[in-house]
């Protein structure tokens, strides 16, 4: 097997399908056609740019450039987590909680994978670092966004319930414990589901890509497994960190529930 290179016409055909769907959305008045086309255009520009950047990066292997790209990826993921919150934390916390927990989980898991498991020399070699980090950030981003959103939404709706426990002398951790567990669970469920259906219902994207690009299926399966385990660990660590910092921030030093630290709901 060898790699069949895609030409602009091939991609244009696939894009025509999206265009068709947009027309359908317009006819059925679903109202998502605008957002869909913008998203399609965004992904086109972003992926072409990434391809160009990686091409340069693979040729130079300059640590500062790699660090810069990793930093940009993390910053954008932080913005994305913030954008998905119905009730954000006010001030720098709104951005910081998501970005910090992603940094803690994705970067540490990526570095462990590169140094201990794959043993790349040097460990920051971009062919391995950037795709791994990208997969991890993309998935931990989902888990953290869902977990944080669940935490703040539920805390907001359950004010009386939380305060009832505080009034009877509970610590802040006891008062929000069940909500915290619930938020964590909802953040972890997508990746657990993805693991249990992988290979039967869905062929994971990375494995598909590797097979299409000509790798032996067994090698593709092994890499997919590795990535999936790493993603699960990263999502778990990241969600735990985000929910812990987030729930701590909902209370002040006198264990008062401070919903005023959340901005009003949007959407």
């Amino acid at each position: 097997m060898s790699l069949i290179s895609l030409g602009p016409l091939d991609l244009a055909l696939a894009a025509a399908l999206v265009l068709l769907l947009a027309v359908l959305s317009w006819r059925l008045r679903l109202g998502v056609e605008r957002r869909m086309l913008i998203a399609a255009a965004r992904s086109t520009v972003q992926l072409v740019l990434l391809g160009l950047v990686l091409k340069v990066l693979f040729e130079t292997t300059h640590p500062a450039l790699i660090a810069l790209l990793a930093f940009v990826m993390l910053s954008v993921a932080g913005l994305e987590v913030m954008a998905r919150q119905k009730r954000r934390y006010r001030g720098p916390w709104g951005y910081g909680i998501g970005a910090l927990s992603m940094f803690l989980s994705s970067f540490s898991v990526t570095v462990v994978a590169l140094t201990v498991i794959i043993r790349v020399e040097p460990w920051y070699q971009p062919q391995y670092l950037i795709p791994l980090l990208g997969m991890l950030l993309g998935n931990t981003m989902n888990g953290i966004a869902i977990a944080l959103d669940g935490l703040t939404r539920q805390a907001h709706d359950a004010r009386e319930r939380i305060e009832a426990r505080l009034l009877l002398g509970a610590t802040w951790g006891e008062a929000i414990g069940d909500i915290r567990r619930d938020a964590l669970r909802s953040g972890l469920i997508p990746i657990v589901n993805a693991m249990s259906t992988a290979g039967i219902v869905s062929l994971p994207g990375m494995m598909t890509g590797q097979i299409l690009a000509g790798s032996p299926p067994m090698e593709a399966a092994k890499y997919q497994l590795l990535i999936m385990f790493l993603i699960t660990a990263g999502t778990g660590l990241g969600s735990v960190a985000a929910v812990w910092i987030g729930s701590r921030r909902l209370f002040d030093e006198r264990a008062r529930l401070r919903l005023d630290r959340l901005a009003p709901g949007r959407r």
Binding site: A158, R165, L166, L167, R256
Partner: protein, 214 residues
Amino acid sequence: MSALRIRALHTALLAAVDLDIEAGELVFLSGPSGAGKSLLLRAIADLDPNSGEVWCGDIARSSVPAPVWRRRVGLLPAESGWWDERVGGHLLAAVERGGDLEPLLTRLGFGPEVLEWEIRRLSTGERQRLALARLLLHQPEVLLLDEATANLDPDNRGRVEAVIADYRAEQAAAVLWVSHDPEQRRRMNGRRLMIQDGNLQPEAGADIVGAPQP
């Protein structure tokens, strides 16, 4: 047991509040809605940001962690929250710490089967009485009551008033009670204050009773 002393307590709506309630004394608080009565109680329990100092007996609020303070100074809000599906889940934890459950439930008009009841099927009045039971089982030294009988029929109002009066007498608890019911404020033996223009003052037409009532 313990008196409540409040010095220069600042909340959003009230000027600095100074108030002394002796151990075993009952103080009623009234005033137009929105005057800040509930917020004052929440501030005393340290549930909202506030400044000033409060003592329960000789323990200063700032010298103990907030959960310890709230166990001593128990607030019954106008609407209580419930975290378990059934009544029992809220009461049994307190019983394990030595509260005496059944006599209290009987006095409030419930049989032992109430522990199996679902919270969402309770009426507002039932919730109010059960929230009082839940609070008293924790044996606070000071009671802050926010319209504790607002949704009760006369029979149950009488039950709640009796339970609170006895708790105050037996435990020598200081009680600060926000009540909109002028009859109740006259009927129960207590000092009567009202909030006017952000200040705490004796209720117009009430006898000024300074001494603690046994």
